[in-house]
Structures are given as C-alpha cells and as structure tokens.
Assembly symmetry: C2
Homo-oligomer: 200 residues x 2
DNA sequence: ATTATCTATAGATCTATAGATAATGC
DNA sequence: ATTATCTATAGATCTATAGATAATGC
C-alpha cells in the first residue's frame, strides 16, 4: 500500500490541521486553498498535489476529525443507561474547552444542509451513526432495568443530539450568555428523572 | 421620509425574495449578486443601486424575515404556560411546511458563528430576544399556577430553542429520517409532565 | 430633481492543470 | 521510478464603482 515518503506524510498532517482552522473560520465556501497553503509554507499547487481538490480536502478533514472523536464519543459496548447519559455531559464539558473544533462542526453542518454540498453525505452518515450509538446505549439501560422499559430510544437519541448541536450554536454566537454544559446537564438530569423505572 | 418611486419599491421586494432563495441555497459567502440580479431580471449594478452592498442585502433579508416571523412567533402578552409550549409545537409544525425558510435560518446561523460574519450580530440579538420571549411565557405560566413555581425559565427557554434548531438541522440533512414535529412534540409533552405543579 | 437603470471596467480573488525541477528511497 | 515541489497560467468568478441615459413624479 503506497503511502508516499515520510516527508509527505508529515506535510499532509500539517495540511489537515491548517485546513481545519480555515474551514472552521470560513466554512467550505469561504475557505481559500491559497491561505491554507500559506499556513503550511507550501505553494497552492503543492497543496493540491497532496489532496487533488478542495472537496477532497474537506472530506479528508472531516474524516480525520471523526476518527479522533469516535474514541471519545464511543459509548462502548458496556456503557449504557444513566452512565451513557453522564458520558454525554462529559462530551459537552469537553467541547466547551475546544471552541475551534465545535465551530468546525457547526459551520460545516450548517452549510451541509444544502444538497450538493460536499459535506452533505458526511453529515447524513454522522447523524445516523450518532443516533444509532446513543439509542443502543439507552436500550441497554432499559434492558438492565436502569431505565424505564417502554422508552422511545430513537426519539430520545435524536433529542439529545439536537440539544447538543443547538446549544453549541447558541454558545458559539454568544459565549458569555450561555453556559452550554450547565444547561445540557439540566436536560440530562430531567431526563434521568423522567426515565427512571416506576417504583416496584 | 424618502422611499423612492413605486416601481422601485416593488423591485426591492422582488430582490428580497430572490436574495432569500439564493442565501438559503448557498449561504452568505456562496451567494452571488449576479445570480440574484438575474432572477429579478436586473443587471448586477442595478441591484446594487437598491442595496449598496452584499452585506446590507443580507441584513435586509434577515430583518425582513424576522418581521414576518415575529407575528407568528409572538407569544403575546396573554399566552403563557402550557398554551405557550403548544404554540411552539405549532411553529415547528408550520416550519415543516416551509423548508426554504428553515434552510435560510439554519445556513445563516451556522455561518454566523464566525465573528465578523455580517449575520453575527443579528443572530446574537435574535437568540436573546427569543429566549426572553419564551422565558417570559413560562414565567407567566408559573405565576398562574399552571406550571411548577421554582422552574428555571431561562434554562428551559434555551433548551426549547436549541431543540428546535437542532432538529431542524437533522431534518434538513435527512428529511425522511426525522419527523421533526413529532420528535419536538414528544419533548414538549415530557416537559409539561415534568413542570406540572406538585399535586396540592 | 430624483430615482432607476444600463454598460464597462477595475481589481481581487479563486480552483485546477501543465510542465519543469529537485529530492527520496527501493 | 516515484514523490514532492515550484512557477506560470487558463478561465471563471466576484463585488463595487464610474459615468451615461431614461423614466418618474413633485
């Protein structure tokens, strides 16, 4: 499997990091390959030697970030129920410390609602995967008797994800106003109370 | 107060409508004045006679839409408590019928998380206003004894708005997967149960 | 007079490709 | 040989302004 020389590999990593910043700051459409190239001290043509096109570069950045986040976000096969919900609160608390990454996802998800946007398919897959993961964790909690039996796992998963995204947008636009982690924690607390199995 | 000739007034309205479509489809950065001008059968310079710059045109579109929506969204001085929460469900149900408008707000809000974006201030003001309106309606409900007394009105308002926004994004990206209105209604139902005053 | 248009154009971008040269490592 | 770079450039944009001409309505 050809992966190029070591020097090229290192350069590609630097390009991904620089592209992430540029896309987060300007979105896909507002981003400039020339500016990215400048940040890694490379000509713009040199950049395209490594990534062929702006579209491919965006997809590479998104996949790269997804890979990193999967680990943190992965609720494992064992975690479930209340522990899983608490893990989501931890994710939000962590996100409050990395505004740059949060901004990348917010900006790109916003742009990607447009069909034809190079991030459209990525976003669709991502939301489906997240929903499946969260729903599975909730269901494990129900099986163990930790959460109410009849719960609608998919609907709650959609809501948890929507809540995270929506609060992120508010927080990025007006950081002083919104304590993203606290408001999300309040949601999870209410949810835990609501989904507690009826006293036997 | 100079408002120009009747013909100009009519042209400006057409421009706003066309610009709305273009911004919704391509975001601020991806939008093209030439394409907007084409849709209203005007030269691109002719368009700029009416709106001076691309930035001003975006702001005009956003203010124009806000004005329209204020009526629908206005929870009045009388509505409060559970009725206000039901009114939000109506809003979401209505939004599910106008994907174009929803897309405008999603795309621009996403872009506007970047400081320096011409929609940044608009988004900030908008979220503050929405929060104040929703929180006030919840508080009226509490005063009337319809909702639990000690409720955190601001936090619940932030969450309601975040939920609406987050579900909109999911719905726009994958309309077949998400029944936006139904999932939101589920949230409101849970919230009504949670905020019901303790039995006296 | 004021307003609504137009054509023409300056001046900055932008992405992607062609083709040459230098470095790397089997 | 393959990979990593570069310069140069084609070909499309883009926004905003200057300056001329036509229509509108006090």
């Amino acid at each position: 499997m050809r992966r190029g020389y070591a020097t090229g590999q290192a350069r590609r990593e630097r390009i991904l990091a620089a592209a992430l910043l540029e896309f987060a700051e300007n979105g896909y459409r507002g981003a400039s390959l020339a500016r990215i190239a400048e940040r890694v001290e490379l000509s713009q043509a040199g950049l395209l030697h490594h990534f062929t096109s702006k579209e491919r570069l965006l997809v590479a950045v998104l996949d790269y970030r997804d890979e990193q986040d999967m680990r943190r976000f992965d609720l494992g096969e064992t975690t479930g129920g209340v522990a899983a919900l608490r893990a989501l609160v931890d994710v939000v608390e962590h996100n409050a410390r990395v505004p740059g990454l949060v901004q990348l996802f917010s900006v790109i998800s916003g742009e990607a609602v447009t069909p034809g946007h190079p991030g459209h398919e990525w976003a669709r897959r991502r939301y489906r995967r997240l929903r499946a993961q969260v729903a599975a964790a909730l269901r494990r909690g129900a099986e163990r008797g930790e959460l109410r039996a009849g719960l609608d796992a998919e609907a709650h998963a959609d809501r948890l994800i929507a809540m995270m995204d929506g609060l992120q947008t508010q927080w990025l636009i007006d950081p002083e106003r919104v304590d993203m982690a606290a408001v999300f924690r309040g949601y999870v607390d209410d949810l835990v109370a609501l989904l507690r199995p009826p006293a036997s």
